[in-house]
C-alpha cells in the first residue's frame, strides 16, 4: 500500500453517529502500532473529537488554524459595493462603507480581488486548533473547533496537512454526509463505513454509500454491534458491497468504552473481530493500491 504524495489514507466514516467510528479507527491504529508499523491517527471529527480519550497522547505542538477574512480600511472605501456584489455568502455588505460579518465569511478572497480602491486587506481568523503529539509509537493529530464556530472544513484541511509522507494514515471522520465528511474522505485511498444493524444504521449507511459512489472512493463496510438482525448483511449482498467484518454486540464493549478503555484490551471477542478486520481491510487496500 502506497501512494506518491504521502501516507496511504484510510478514512473511517459512518453516516449515523455513535456507530463506533472512533472505537474502530483507534483500535486499528493501535493494532498497527503494536506490530511496529508506522501509523498516524488523525481525528477529523473536529466538532467532537474523542480519539484522544482512548489514546491519551502527549501533545507536543499546538497551532491555530483558520481562514483569511477581509479587513476594510474606511478611509479608502468609497462604498462602491463591488465587494458585496462579489460575495456569495453575504459576509460583506455595504450600507455606506463595507462591513464584514466574519462568521459568514468562507475566506475565498473574492472581495479583496473585487475592491478597486485597495480598501480591503486580509487578517487571519482562527476557527480552531490543530494538536499534534505521540501516543507510544503512534503519531496523533486532532482538530478542535472553537465553540460557536460554524465552519469545520478549514480546520479539517489543516489537520490533513499534517499527514505524514509515508506509512498509514487513519482519518477518523465526522458523522453525517455533509461537507465536513466530504472534506475528510474525498482523497482517501479507502473508506471504511462503520454501521450498526438497526433501521437508523441501515438508512444512514445507504446515504454514506451514495456519497462514496459519487466521490468515487473505494469502500467497505464493518457492522458493529452485530446481532440477529441481518438487514445490513442483506443490503451489502444485494449491492455487492465488501462486508469486511462484524463486531459482535456485547454490553462489555459499551462498558469498557464508557470508561475510556479500549475494548481491544478488555474484551477478547472484540479483539478477534478487530484483528480480522485488520486482515480483510489490508487485503482490500492492497487490491485498490495496485
Amino acid at each position: 500500500m502506497s501512494r506518491v504524495d504521502g501516507a496511504f489514507r484510510i478514512a473511517v466514516a459512518s453516516g449515523k453517529g455513535g456507530t463506533g467510528k472512533t472505537t474502530v479507527a483507534v483500535s486499528l491504529a493501535v493494532l498497527q502500532a503494536q506490530q511496529e508499523e508506522p501509523v498516524q491517527y488523525l481525528d477529523c471529527d473536529v466538532e467532537e473529537p474523542n480519539g484522544h480519550i482512548f489514546l491519551k497522547p502527549a501533545i507536543e505542538e499546538t497551532e491555530e488554524a483558520g481562514i483569511l477574512i477581509p479587513v476594510v480600511d474606511p478611509a479608502l472605501c468609497d462604498g462602491c459595493r463591488k465587494c458585496g456584489d462579489a460575495c456569495e455568502f453575504h459576509a460583506i455588505v455595504v450600507p455606506k462603507k463595507a462591513v464584514v460579518f466574519p462568521e459568514l465569511c468562507h475566506g475565498c478572497g473574492g472581495c479583496l480581488r473585487a475592491c478597486p480602491t485597495g480598501a480591503i486587506t486580509e487578517a487571519f481568523r482562527a476557527v480552531g486548533v490543530v494538536e499534534c503529539g505521540k501516543a507510544g509509537r503512534l503519531s496523533f493529530v486532532q482538530g478542535l473547533l472553537n465553540i460557536g464556530e460554524a465552519m469545520a472544513p478549514p480546520l479539517i484541511r489543516a489537520v490533513k496537512k499534517k499527514i505524514q509522507p509515508t506509512g498509514l494514515a487513519l482519518l477518523d471522520a465526522p458523522p453525517g454526509t455533509a461537507c465536513a465528511v466530504v472534506t475528510t474522505v474525498k482523497d482517501a485511498d479507502y473508506v471504511l463505513l462503520v454501521t450498526e444493524p438497526t433501521p437508523f444504521g441501515l438508512n444512514d449507511l445507504k446515504l454514506a454509500v451514495e456519497l462514496m459512489r459519487s466521490l468515487g472512493r473505494p469502500f467497505g463496510v464493518v457492522v458493529n454491534r452485530a446481532c440477529g438482525d441481518d438487514s445490513v448483511r442483506r443490503y451489502c449482498r444485494e449491492e455487492g458491497l465488501a462486508l469486511l467484518a462484524e463486531i459482535p454486540d456485547d454490553r462489555a464493549v459499551a462498558e469498557s468504552y464508557s470508561r475510556g478503555e479500549l475494548p481491544l484490551d478488555t474484551v477478547p471477542s472484540f479483539r478477534r473481530a478487530l484483528e480480522q478486520l485488520k486482515e480483510t481491510l489490508s487485503a482490500a487496500c492492497e487490491a485498490v493500491g495496485r
Partner: protein, 293 residues
C-alpha cells in the same frame, strides 16, 4: 408556541428516539427533522409528503473544456483546492464536490470559460404524520450548505406551527457543535441535551453545554443508558446542574429503543420496557418546566 431542540454533541445517544417519543406525547406539536444529512425521524413517523421542494444550495463553478486555454489562473485563485488539471495539462477542471461556490474563479478567468449555475443540494418536505405535521429534508449526500437547509426546515416548521396554532415545535437536531447544530439551536426556548455516561459522551456534553451557553439557550439534561456507568452518570448531572442545566431525568440501557425502531414506533408507542414510562415522566417535567418560565 415553544420551540424545543433535541441535541447531543456526540452521535448515537438517542436523540431521535427521544424526539419521536416526545412527538407522540405532545399535543398540538409540529416536528422538524434538522439532521438533514442523516435524517432518521421519518423512519419512525412515516410522513405522508404533502409538499416537496428543491433545495437550491448556491452555485457551482464548471469549466467549459472547449474554451479553456489551460492558463491556470483559476487554479491559482481558488483557495479550496477545487481546481485540477487534465492529465495532458492542457485544460483545467473543477474537482467533484470540492467547489465552495464562491465564484472567484468565474470572475478571474481571462477567457470567460467558467459557468456558474445554481446547484440543487437536495429536497425539503412538508408532511403529515400521526403525531402532527412535519418539516424535513434530504441533503444530497455531499451537498453544500447543510446549515442553510436546516434553517429552511426550521422556518417551515415555525410557519406551520403558527398556521395550526400549535403549542410546540420539536426539533430533532444533528450531532456535533458546528454549522447545522448552530442553525438548529439559535432562538429556541430550550435545548434538551441527550447524553450518555461514557467519557466520550462527557467530553462532548461539555462542549455542547458551552455552545448552548454561548447562544444563551436554557438546557435540560437527559442521561440515556445511565446504568452503563452509573458513577459517571452522577458526575455528568452534577456538572450540568452546576452550569445551570435542568435535570430532566435518566433513561436505562433498554433494548426497547432498538426494538421500537424496528417496528417503526417511538419508544412510548411501543410501550414495553422501563424506558417508555421514564420518557413520559421526562416529557411531563420538561413541559412543566417550560410552562413555568
Amino acid at each position: 408556541m415553544k420551540q424545543i431542540v433535541i441535541i447531543s454533541g456526540k452521535g448515537g445517544t438517542g436523540k431521535t428516539s427521544v424526539t419521536a417519543s416526545f412527538a407522540a406525547l405532545a399535543r398540538k406539536s409540529v416536528l422538524a427533522d434538522c439532521d438533514v444529512d442523516a435524517a432518521d425521524l421519518h423512519l419512525i413517523l412515516q410522513p405522508e409528503i404533502k409538499r416537496r421542494e428543491v433545495f437550491r444550495s448556491g452555485h457551482e463553478a464548471g469549466i467549459r473544456v472547449s474554451d479553456c486555454t489551460g492558463c491556470g489562473v483559476c487554479e491559482e485563485v481558488c483557495r479550496f483546492d477545487a481546481i485540477g488539471r487534465a492529465e495532458d495539462g492542457a485544460t483545467c477542471f473543477v474537482r467533484d464536490m470540492s467547489c465552495e461556490g464562491c465564484g472567484v474563479c468565474v470572475s478571474a478567468c481571462p477567457v470567460g470559460a467558467i459557468d456558474f449555475p445554481e446547484r440543487e443540494g437536495g429536497e425539503w418536505f412538508i408532511s403529515d404524520t400521526r403525531c402532527g405535521p412535519m418539516a424535513h429534508a434530504r441533503l444530497t449526500p455531499g451537498g453544500e450548505n447543510s446549515g442553510r437547509l436546516v434553517a429552511l426546515v426550521r422556518e417551515q416548521a415555525v410557519e406551520l406551527a403558527k398556521e395550526r396554532q400549535a403549542d410546540w415545535v420539536l426539533v430533532d437536531g444533528p450531532p456535533g457543535i458546528g454549522c447545522p447544530v448552530i442553525a438548529s439551536l439559535t432562538g429556541t426556548d430550550l435545548a434538551v441535551i441527550v447524553t450518555e455516561p461514557t467519557l466520550s459522551g462527557a467530553h462532548d456534553l461539555s462542549r455542547v453545554l458551552d455552545l448552548a451557553q454561548h447562544f444563551h439557550i436554557p438546557v435540560a439534561l437527559v442521561v440515556n443508558k445511565y446504568d452503563l456507568n452509573a458513577d459517571l452518570a452522577v458526575r455528568l448531572e452534577k456538572e450540568a446542574r452546576e452550569r445551570g442545566a435542568f435535570l430532566a431525568g435518566r433513561l436505562p440501557y433498554d433494548g426497547a429503543f432498538t426494538e421500537a425502531q424496528r417496528q417503526g414506533l417511538s419508544v412510548v408507542e411501543y410501550g414495553k420496557g422501563a424506558a417508555a414510562e421514564e420518557i413520559k415522566e421526562l416529557w411531563k417535567r420538561i413541559r412543566e418546566k417550560i410552562n413555568h418560565e
